[in-house]
């Protein structure tokens, strides 16, 4: 399988990364090189093989459903590029 520039532009939008037409053209070649490389896998017989979900046989632990953290609004917001009154600031989303 391979991609064209229109597909690259669409995927970039899904990934929320702005690309110019020129970048999309260059990325098309680069992504096709990678897709060509991974193409080898289509020749492997995986009939009846379970996909790996964990490399170590283990049952995920559970813990009591209680609050263990919180009340740290200041620390949570400390690295925000823009915040006000304990909230993150973003451009207007709802009209």
């Amino acid at each position: 399988m391979s991609v064209d520039a229109a597909t690259v532009t669409k995927v970039a939008h899904l990934a929320r990364i702005a690309v110019t037409q020129e970048e999309a053209n260059r990325l098309t070649g680069e992504l096709n090189a990678i897709l060509g490389f991974v193409e080898e896998l289509s020749a492997i017989d995986v009939e009846g093989v379970e996909p790996m979900t964990s490399v170590v046989a283990m049952t995920l632990r559970t813990r009591p459903d209680v609050v263990t953290d919180g009340e740290n609004a200041k620390a949570v917001l400390a690295n925000a590029p823009a915040s006000e009154d304990g909230y993150f600031l973003v451009p207007k989303v709802v009209e």
């Binding site: 702005a18 992504l31 090189a33 991974v38 289509s42 964990s54 490399v55 170590v56 620390a75 590029p81």
Partner: protein, 492 residues
């Protein structure tokens, strides 16, 4: 005092405990080495005040006879580990000014053992790379050069800063992480020892995530014993990482120097790849001979799905990266590029904040996970991964105790030499290491000799899950036979 930075962790610890020198003196010795080596670009942040304060506390504990296993030992930390109040960037513009309000579990464990932070070490952006050239802080220069040749070489990656700093004695040891070879490949290219432990041995909590099912932390150190002491301090159960195992940490240092007599070592025929340089082949032969001399038995084995590991990795790792890196949105932390609407803010921020290799991997990951392609790519790659692990399970089930391979297909290469190559050419650096991540196994790289033009080469030993102990014993035997390798200090 001179000569302090040449001491191994074991010797420095002994000297500190006997009060032959203080932790403060040891820290100062490393700080001046660090300053003199800025041209290598190994550190992206120096923390001398932090180091002096921690060293002073270590001296108090030493004087009370309360020394931890790493008391007063100055270390460097890969800039992928969050350090409380100390800038952590993953060497990406998108995290350019991030100061974590928390500490990663692995570094917390090291401070509890008494270690001293010298600074944060350079790496490939989000640990995506094999040469340390994708870092937003620029490339790291390998302390090793070819004989009679001043061409700057890469230290490997992604933990290139960690490997270079250890090789040049700019820290006693360093933390690193390994998703496809990022501890072992740079260790091999700098003549240092690096171990990626079994998946789940070290907590991933507080480490900037790349590919969560593959990422593991481990140390890079100057010798096998130092690596064992470091891993012993880094490893352990952590309830904050649900994949971290609740099992006691063995005394790894005690395994170094232990007899390896009677151990069966697998030699996988699939690792003899096309175009492998004769000197790498010869190094492998010497490694086999050393282990036979130490009493091991060699067994020819087959790991038939070896070839599929790298292509499967380049589906699984970008897929996981694309979802892990979705959090960099310009809203909660890091870089923000303004726009009129929220989608524009996301798209501009991420375009400006991520470098070329990271953008490429996010796009590949997004594509292979997108509707209609999931089964053809991601699901198939995870099935192939099951087959790769099955190969190892079969040989470790009564056939061999460990596997011996070269660590890398070649020694260090010049900075910039792969700039115009296909991205796939750089990916081939990890052809011998990536299988180990795909199967979640422990792997150690130990320096084993020099190439014809004077550059270090490494051998890799792969073990059973959670059998790091055997790897330390075997690596110790290789080290004993091969000797140690130190670069000439041309950068001073």
């Amino acid at each position: 005092m001179t000569g302090l930075t040449a001491l191994s962790i074991a010797d420095a610890h002994a000297g500190l405990v006997r009060r032959e020198f203080t932790a403060r003196e040891l820290a100062e010795a490393y700080l001046s080495e660090m300053e003199a080596a800025r041209g290598l670009n190994a550190y992206v942040l120096e923390t001398p005040e932090h180091a002096r304060a921690q060293a002073a506390e270590a001296d108090v504990r030493l004087s009370r006879g309360e020394a931890g296993p790493l008391e007063g030992i100055p270390i460097g930390v890969k800039d992928l580990f969050c350090t409380d109040g100390v800038r952590t960037t993953a060497c990406s513009r998108i995290l350019g000014s991030f100061v974590p309000p928390y500490e990663s579990t692995v570094t917390e464990n090291l401070w509890k053992a008494g270690a001293v932070l010298l600074g944060k070490l350079n790496c490939d952006e989000f640990a995506m790379g094999s040469s340390n050239e994708t870092s937003a802080f620029g490339p790291v220069i390998n302390p090793w050069r070819r004989t009679d040749d001043e061409t700057p070489l890469v230290p490997g990656g992604s933990s290139g800063g960690s490997a270079a700093a250890v090789a040049a004695s700019l820290c006693a040891a360093a933390t690193a992480t390994d998703t496809g070879g990022s501890i072992r490949q740079p260790a091999a290219l700098t003549g240092t020892v690096g171990i990626k432990p079994t998946y789940g041995r070290c907590s991933r909590w507080g480490i900037v995530a790349f590919a969560s099912s593959l990422d593991q932390a481990g140390p890079i150190a100057r010798d096998v014993r130092d690596a064992a002491v470091m891993l012993g301090a880094m490893a352990g159960f952590d309830p904050k990482d649900s994949t971290c195992v609740d099992a006691p940490v063995p005394d790894y240092a005690a395994a170094v120097g232990a007899s390896v007599k009677g151990l069966r070592i697998g030699i996988p025929r699939e690792y003899r790849v096309e175009g492998m340089p004769a000197e790498v082949e010869a190094l492998w032969e010497r490694g086999k001979a050393w282990l036979v001399d130490a009493g091991c038995e060699l067994v020819d084995i087959s790991l038939p799905h070896t070839r599929t590991a790298l292509p499967a990795y380049y589906i699984v790792a970008p897929a996981e990266a694309s979802s892990n890196l979705a959090r960099y949105d310009g809203v909660r932390y890091g870089l923000r590029v303004g726009a009129d609407d929220i989608v524009g803010l996301y798209e501009k921020t991420r375009a400006a904040g991520f470098g070329a290799e990271v953008r490429r991997r996010i796009l590949i990951g997004t594509y292979v996970l997108s509707a209609g392609y999931y089964d053809a790519y991601y699901s198939r790659a995870q099935k192939v991964r099951t087959l790769i692990k099955r190969d190892f399970d079969q040989v470790f089930d009564g056939v061999v105790d460990a596997v011996l391979t070269p660590t890398t297909p070649s020694p260090a290469f010049p900075v910039g030499s792969k700039a115009n190559a296909s991205p796939v050419e750089m990916y081939l650096q990890d052809v011998f290491t990536v299988t180990v991540n795909m199967a979640g196994l422990p792997g150690i790289s130990v320096p084993a000799g020099l190439s014809g033009d004077g550059l270090p080469l490494g051998l890799q030993l792969i073990g059973r899950p959670f059998d790091e102990t055997t790897l330390f014993s075997l690596a110790g035997a290789v080290e004993k036979a091969a000797g140690r390798f130190t670069p000439k200090a041309w950068w001073r």
